[in-house]
């Protein structure tokens, strides 16, 4: 029962726009165990976010299915809470009210006092207990993302979906938040799917890394198991041969195996250019003769 907690089955995604169709995802198959931390990595534009949106229910797949805990996903819901890349807090609400909006909507059965305690507890967990009455405009980007994480956690989701959660942050803040996410993950044992384009982040945080090939029609290229003991320490791991091996694996996939496709396309483009150049030269010659 514990395995196949979440399964993504043969998901295809094709967008139709102005008469042309473009296939973004092709035959995505993935199963995620309860409490597992999965990263999805790939070059930009390969359809990572589309895949996450399909799991979230925000986008409907063209074919295939997403099944979570025995039920098919076909609309968004609080059991799959999303931390969006640009925090997406509501600027007219305070930090507390932003989380309260989610809690009051999802925990109807709890009493008012219980809900209050739950909101404060989640904000304290991400280290934002001191800023309950601040508005999003008054706190830093890292703090906003902390609140976004608190909001998502407060819904007690079956799966936590992180869409490049640290992408917009500076490197130091990002490292700090990664530590927090690992600590919270140890504490709560959430099932997490994270979109990222940061190799270190993927290796440090994940149990498995899912590598997508370049689009169009992106597929799962490889899945890498990260067999490193937790809790993980980034400083100790920096010198760990296994860690570096995993890093290298991902880098090799992204920059050797997947770059080939791109460079082929580029070369084809370059050839085209060359031909054009020669044609032009020939034209010039003819004109010169005349």
């Amino acid at each position: 029962m514990s395995n196949r907690y979440l399964s993504i089955e043969n998901v295809d995604m094709t967008f139709y726009a102005k008469g042309t169709q473009s296939q973004v995802l092709k035959g995505i198959d993935l199963t995620v165990d309860r409490g597992e931390y999965i990263s999805i990595i790939g070059h930009s534009g390969c359809g990572k976010s589309t895949l996450l949106n399909i799991v979230a229910g925000l986008t409907e797949s063209t074919s295939g299915a997403v099944i979570l805990d025995g039920k098919e996903v076909n609309s968004p819901g609080p059991d799959r809470s999303v931390v969006f890349q640009n925090h997406s807090l509501l600027p007219w609400l305070t930090v507390y009210e932003n989380v309260a909006l989610a809690v009051n909507k999802t925990c109807r059965t709890k009493s008012k006092a219980e809900r209050h305690a739950w909101i404060v507890k989640n904000l304290e967990m991400v280290g934002m207990g001191h800023a309950l009455d601040k508005r999003p405009a008054e706190i830093s980007g890292g703090m906003k993302q902390r609140v976004g994480i608190a909001r998502a956690l407060a819904m007690e989701p079956k799966v936590l979906l992180l869409d490049e959660p640290f992408g917009a942050l500076d490197a130091l803040t990002r490292a700090h938040l990664q530590e927090e996410v690992m600590r919270i993950q140890d504490e709560l044992g959430n099932t997490v799917i994270m979109i990222t384009h940061d190799v270190d982040e993927a290796v440090l945080l994940s149990d498995r890394i899912v590598m997508l090939t370049n689009g169009p029609s992106a597929r799962i290229g490889e899945i890498l198991d990260i067999d490193l003991p937790r809790p993980r320490d980034r400083i100790a791991l920096a010198d760990d041969p296994r860690y570096n091996h995993y890093r290298q694996e991902v880098l090799r996939f992204l920059y050797e195996k997947q770059r080939k496709v791109e460079s082929l396309a580029q070369r084809r483009g370059a050839v085209g250019e060359k031909e054009k150049d020669e044609k032009e030269k020939a034209k010039e010659k003819r004109m010169a003769k005349a």
């Binding site: 609309s75 968004p76 809470s81 999303v82 969006f84 909507k105 999802t106």
Partner: protein, 284 residues
């Protein structure tokens, strides 16, 4: 050394607690109050000089004050009929604006939400709005007199039809510009229609809506004066027309000053409410 400093800073606020307030007040007076007062005085002097010559057709400010002192001193007299104080005239106009503008706010926001939410409604209604909104306010008066057969509802209708367009257009733009992220948050939380409307849509569009409301209140005040000139009865517009017919130029000038001040106050009032409602978080 450091302890001496600390005791100094501790002693300071107790002894000179009033000083920062006083300095701040002084700064406000010098920076904010002084410039308009100086400019007003200069303009008054210029006006006085221009209109003091024997051949001047318009009265200088000193004469305006002398002629209208009765009106300024007793704004609330009531001699029956149209012969009432300036305060009553302005209040009569404000009452019409209040009715017409309130209707425009309710209808304008509702239509704006509809047009902002539904692409079909936008395609259907937008051309109609774009044509109708260019019709000058007074052009509506004859048709509304014909329709209502009475002057008061006609004046209210003119206010309504003048103020509604900027409210509709700004509301719909505000709704259209709600970031996709907020919609996604609402979808993940499974907010229902009413919750989405009150918790996400109205606050997110509020800055736009209030800029529409502000333009609308300005336009309705512009329109009421013109409309009242034509429909008669009590009201600042008709007061001006009446003064013109009686060749009381000073009364007209006084009325213009009052109209300007009331219009300014209305504008600031809506801006103030907007600021309070959006809590100063315009967009961010």
């Amino acid at each position: 050394m450091s302890s001496v400093q600390r005791s100094n800073t501790l002693a300071k606020p107790a002894a000179l607690a009033w000083a920062p307030d006083f300095i701040a007040l002084q700064q406000v007076v010098v920076q904010r109050v002084l410039p308009p007062v100086v400019i007003l005085a200069l303009l008054g002097i210029l006006w006085e000089l221009l209109c003091s010559s024997p051949g001047a057709v318009l009265p200088p400010p000193s004469q305006v004050l002398r002629d209208t002192w009765e009106l300024i001193a007793n704004p609330f007299y009531d001699h029956g009929g149209n012969d009432v104080g300036m305060a009553w005239q302005i209040l009569a106009s404000l009452e019409r604006v209040a009715y017409g503008y309130s209707l425009a706010v309710v209808a304008g926001i509702a239509l704006g939400v509809l047009v902002g939410q539904s692409t079909w409604a936008m395609r259907g209604l937008d051309p109609v709005f774009q044509v109708l909104r260019t019709v000058p306010p007074l052009a509506w008066l004859p048709i509304s007199l014909a329709g209502f057969q009475d002057s008061t509802p006609s004046a209210i209708f003119v206010i309504f039809i003048t103020a509604i367009w900027p409210i509709i257009i700004n509301t719909s733009v505000g709704i259209r510009n709600i970031p996709e992220d907020y919609r996604n948050v609402a979808r993940v939380l499974r907010l229902n229609g009413m919750e989405y409307f009150t918790r996400i849509m109205l606050p997110a569009a509020a800055p736009y809506i209030f800029s529409g409301l502000r333009i609308g209140v300005g336009l309705s005040w512009l329109a009421i004066v013109a409309a009242e000139m034509l429909i008669g009865g009590v009201g600042i517009g008709f007061f001006i027309w009446d003064a013109w017919n009686a060749s009381m130029i000073s009364d007209i000038i006084l009325a213009l000053v009052y109209v300007g001040i009331v219009g300014f106050v209305l504008d600031r009032l809506v801006a103030f409410i907007g600021n309070r409602v959006t809590r100063g978080t315009a967009q961010g």
